[in-house]
Symmetry: C2
Amino acid sequence: MASRSSLMRALRAPAVSANASKSSRRAVAGAARAPSAATSNPAGIRCLSTTPQRLVAPTLARPVKLTTQTYPNLKRDSRFATVTDEHVARFREILGDNPSAIVDGVTGPIDEGDLEAFNEDWMHKYKGQTRLVLKPASTEEVSQILRYCNEQRLAVVPQGGNTGLVGGSIPVFDEIVISIARMNEIRSFDDGSGALVVDAGCILEAVDTYLAKQGYIFPLDLGAKGSCHVGGNVSTNAGGLRLLRYGSLHGSVLGVEAVLPDGTIMNDLCTLRKNNTGYDLKQLFIGAEGTLGIITKLAIHCPQRSPAVNVALFGLESYEKAQLAFREAKKQLSEILSAFELMDGKSQQIVSLVKGQDKPLEGDHPFYCLIETSGSNGEHDYAKLEAFLEDVMTREVVADGVVAQDETQIKELWGWREGITECLGHWGGTYKYDVSIPLKEMYLLVEDTKARMEEAGLLGDTDDYPVVAVLGYGHMGDSNLHLNIPVRRYDPKVEQALEPFVYEWIQKRNGSISAEHGLGIAKKNFVGYSRDDTMLGLMKQIKNLYDPNGIMNPYKYL
Amino acid sequence: MASRSSLMRALRAPAVSANASKSSRRAVAGAARAPSAATSNPAGIRCLSTTPQRLVAPTLARPVKLTTQTYPNLKRDSRFATVTDEHVARFREILGDNPSAIVDGVTGPIDEGDLEAFNEDWMHKYKGQTRLVLKPASTEEVSQILRYCNEQRLAVVPQGGNTGLVGGSIPVFDEIVISIARMNEIRSFDDGSGALVVDAGCILEAVDTYLAKQGYIFPLDLGAKGSCHVGGNVSTNAGGLRLLRYGSLHGSVLGVEAVLPDGTIMNDLCTLRKNNTGYDLKQLFIGAEGTLGIITKLAIHCPQRSPAVNVALFGLESYEKAQLAFREAKKQLSEILSAFELMDGKSQQIVSLVKGQDKPLEGDHPFYCLIETSGSNGEHDYAKLEAFLEDVMTREVVADGVVAQDETQIKELWGWREGITECLGHWGGTYKYDVSIPLKEMYLLVEDTKARMEEAGLLGDTDDYPVVAVLGYGHMGDSNLHLNIPVRRYDPKVEQALEPFVYEWIQKRNGSISAEHGLGIAKKNFVGYSRDDTMLGLMKQIKNLYDPNGIMNPYKYL
């Protein structure tokens, strides 16, 4: 168990030997606990996600409501045709005889379980009614499918790893699901420039594992990496854990191949870092959530992998001190700072409770910060980290802290951040908001929301109260807060207290109601809190230009 | 004068004391020459550009040809109205009585010199025929001007610092110039997040100087920083010297305020790093070269300024060794590498000849590389640089080298890279190509072009030959080559030998014919070498959507 004094002692211990090889992880002298039994993954390539498949929410067993029941005002768009046997025959022509290329609940009876994985999200929050899933194996097949769907006015939903949180990849009515899971080849990698070309259906973790062998890293990392597709990451402009260091996908994606609704293949698969030949159209597809077309391949600039990684976890007395710690980390750790994550005390209490594990630091702290450094020289990084820690502890910015000693402990510390999402589902459900707010006021949203729940008599420790807790965590380095309200049951009273309150609160501070999770169906009606009518009008122009029949991922986004 | 042995000795000298303060520049023990008289700038904030105003090419005194003479096939678009006294009266109404807001050669006689600065580029390569320059002071004025121009079918050219190389900001016929020079306020800076909001007419160097005082840096740097506007930088998606470290503007620009041709003000001036609320429309304006609208304000993410900067210059025996050095620099210097620039021997001979200065390294080397590191800890950075240098010199990757000892020497070494453009103009003119090519074959373009000039009997040392030299330099870290052909006179034979040869050569290697300089009028007809017809068609759709009357910067871009 770490305490401030033991941490300081550990930090003052003699430095360990320098990196032996490029791929070895530098062990930092620290005071972390012994590894728990839960972290049984063999040390090797760092794998932030220890959840290989996010298909089932941990405790929610009850039947999932149809999205159309949750949103009773949604009506099926009468412009769209219903899938017929004739349509399916045409799709079979395009996709060939491969039985893995189609899940057909249209032309005959089918095991409904086969459709379920495509009709439901992993949190069991959204449920669609598709009867047909198509799994093309090539860009050309995607093109033929979309051209035909466009001609026939068949609505479609592009689906990647189905790890989204806003229902973006789940059909609402009977839209055809187009899964790109079979398009999963790594096409090329230039180990001089770091330019990688991959199919959109590659799983993020698989790509990163491939890159690790070349000494490179994918510039994006997130909890769902074991399931999510890189095409989905780009389509949703995923942010994640490395944005602080490597920037957004708008900067790192070099090229995109996408199929437009009319079947046009847009070949913008450039692998160069600089290319000023005309409008940068690929940018429109980054974050379009499949409403303009389907991304089939992408080229991305990958940085070199840092051989030295250090992780530290701190307890802090207040949000003001967390801001101070962040400012100092940016200044003192500068080019080696690769993550600065914030977790409030309540989120850590819940992880501890649900996992049945003691927290890495003694006692309860109102706030915790997880800092990661990545650099090319372990000795240098450790010296910087040591100086930083001495400074923030001497000045009492930080109350207590622990530094991971090895790869296992690095994973364990990350587990206290990455385990939050799943632990919150313990009581039955979670209201989730992924927002961006100027740093100074960021955590105030949690406090104000908590006060509102208390005033409304909705928050309490017994089954009489729907709300278990109001808590916040997120990517402090990106001003990105995840406001979460775990509940014992979904309750209209809670929803009425939350919305539009949360959105209005954000609007007043010029924040974003959707930082990195996308709009999907969850936030479609709230975009106006972050965008004015002019912007929304201009966006709708773009949608109409590319998808005049509206067949791409309808009922969502805008 | 540095030699390999003296450099190695210097590198092995005892390390100097650690940084005294955050803003002090760490002096690196090295073997650089004494500072030349040319670098008289006082040490302080690093200013890469020592050319405050790029208005006049050094030696070209002859009358400049009209762009319409250079491109005789261009015809004035008859859809556009000619500016009348009535139009000018309306503009005066919008802009008020301020005499600095308008340069009017329409309603009466005027000193032609007043129009010249807006009708000609700094290289005297392009010359337009505008009779009217408008200088709005606010977004609202820009909006009123554009709305009126759109109604009246008056063509316009947005103009920033007029430092471009492809004629993008110079009128061709009588288009009205809209200069944003009067819109030059720094609006806000958040020293927690690094988010800066500025008017588009701010001069890059002024903004960077402001940021330096806050301990931050603008994520873009280029030779013309003393004159160019940040709005122009974003409109042309400028690349420059810091892209290797801080990435492209598509990643660092957080928000844009732009006025569309119909006067609509697009307020996308977000200051958050993460904002997934709809299509990222601002991206279309980054690199649109003023063909979709006028950027009036921008928000950009600025990184913290590195207190320690080191610069080294090497001589190398071959392009293969330059590639090897780059690979090692990326690996060993990793997170502190902030520039890796390539210059061939010929370019350095010319700078030496024109400036009348000895080169920093003895003798002639076929290639030179300039490396810059920027980090938070001078001791650490120096240790990394020392290890790197020992490695590449021991393995004879590098033949000779020199490390700058202080701020003055840093500037002097940079001068050998940044001085190339202007020294090449010494003989009268330069054919310039700014291209991106996969690294392996990048320099081959210079060799092949040189062979072609020799075969055609165009290259020689006397006045009988139009071509002085064929040479290359550029941003090796970004696969970005500047192929330059300094000439004694512009000659159709040279042009015929160069084009379409150069473009076809690039097309075969999937390169980009325009890496960072933009298309302007110079490359309008050659975009097809880097983009297929589908892409060009999609781009033209976007142009028609935003600017159906085609009034924005006509005759250029696509």
